[in-house]
Subunit: 234 residues, 2 copies
């Protein structure tokens, strides 16, 4: 399409200008740019909006448009343990420690948004990276959302993959709370560290694209091997 080509040319032309200018440089005015690229000023502005959103430039009313240094912020994304470890260049694996069906108490029921007393599958796994213990994870999923769920499938697999393949459930967002705590003797033993070592505890409530709460998980990470990293914008 002619239109797409035009948009593309505009975008690339602007990026070239940004590169030539370097951080701090001032761009020509919007009226001049729109004439130069032969587009309406509003069209140009929409393109500048995008570039500003991406942090490549800054506009200041009455003063002008200035090139920014691109930010290095790493966006937080919802990753499974397996995905995250692979991204960190490590090979993930799991050991299924225990699984049982329990009846949801008031607190858990609220977290999973189910009625108190409904059946919940609780899965406790030791999660390894390069065959070294990394975290101790307890996941809870409501049985009603996962008919015929078989925890045995989790011995070496990702819960997220299973949810997707078997139930067509894609997790879309999660709420995470991060605390610092110390490990009990049992927990420390499983993770292979000294008792009362510090630990990063992450509680996560994951929600499907339909808005249903699918999983509540509580993970204890070894503080000596794991850091939580996040980029934030103002």
């Amino acid at each position: 399409m002619n239109r797409i080509q035009k948009r593309e040319r505009l975008r690339q032309g602007l990026q070239t200008l940004l590169e030539q200018g370097g951080a701090g440089a001032r761009l020509p005015s919007e009226r001049e740019l729109s004439e130069r690229f032969d587009v309406a000023r509003e069209t140009l502005r929409r393109c500048l909006d995008e570039l500003e959103e991406e942090g490549l430039l800054q506009r200041k009313q009455g003063a002008g448009t200035f090139v920014s240094a691109p930010p290095v912020v790493k966006e937080a994304r919802l990753l499974s343990f397996s995905e995250e470890m692979r991204e960190r260049g490590m090979e993930p694996s799991s050991r299924l420690l225990r699984h049982q069906t329990v009846l949801a108490g008031a607190k858990l029921a609220q977290r999973l948004m189910v009625t108190p007393g409904s059946a919940v599958i609780e899965i406790r796994r030791l999660r390894l990276a390069n065959n070294e213990p990394m975290a101790l994870e307890t996941s809870c999923v409501a049985l009603s959302r996962l008919p015929g769920f078989d925890p045995a499938a989790l011995v070496n697999g990702s819960l997220y993959e299973l949810l997707d393949k078997k139930y067509g459930l894609q997790l879309r967002s999660a709420q995470q709370q991060i605390h610092a705590t110390v490990l009990s003797e049992d927990e420390a033993g499983l993770l292979g560290v000294a008792p009362f070592s510090p630990s990063l505890m992450i509680e996560r409530t994951s929600t499907s694209s339909k808005g249903e709460v699918i999983e509540y998980a509580k993970s204890l990470y070894r503080a000596d091997r794991y850091r939580f990293e996040i980029g934030v914008m103002r």
Copy 2:
């Protein structure tokens, strides 16, 4: 201004429509809405863009505009300690424990992106919420970026505010690393908890809109009073 009122009315009118409709409902067409609210279609579209960005509605070319169930994900934003505590409904304050000018070693120089050996101001503050100790914070800023900097101004103020007012520096993004650790006896004493209590340690490197690294800060939060909360999307 008439213009602001108009925009405000439009926004509120649309939100009312969204509420009345409920998730899944289909809004009237853009042409009809623009007529009803007496604005140009482009103006209406800009408002719809915002609402879509916020996840309140979804548009589908050729089909229509539909009300979404609002997401509950809380976006991570770069907040100063003061801003964050106020948002949590607590009154922030600070006690300046120490400040000194040091020469940047290799590690600090790399973090601040300055040449090793340059002067760096190091500020150590006890940060309180409702007059209770909450965190122990050590901030480092390169002197070259803040000529004539006076740490005394920080006794009861926000560093971010000072940077903005005095130097016109707005922080735009930050990279944060979150660890779990235990407090030394000194640190525990200052924070008013038992020695070797667990602590959430947050290291933050903040960058200005021009892409310069402005601050490196290391904070030790009381694990019993502070949790880091974050929403993530897939």
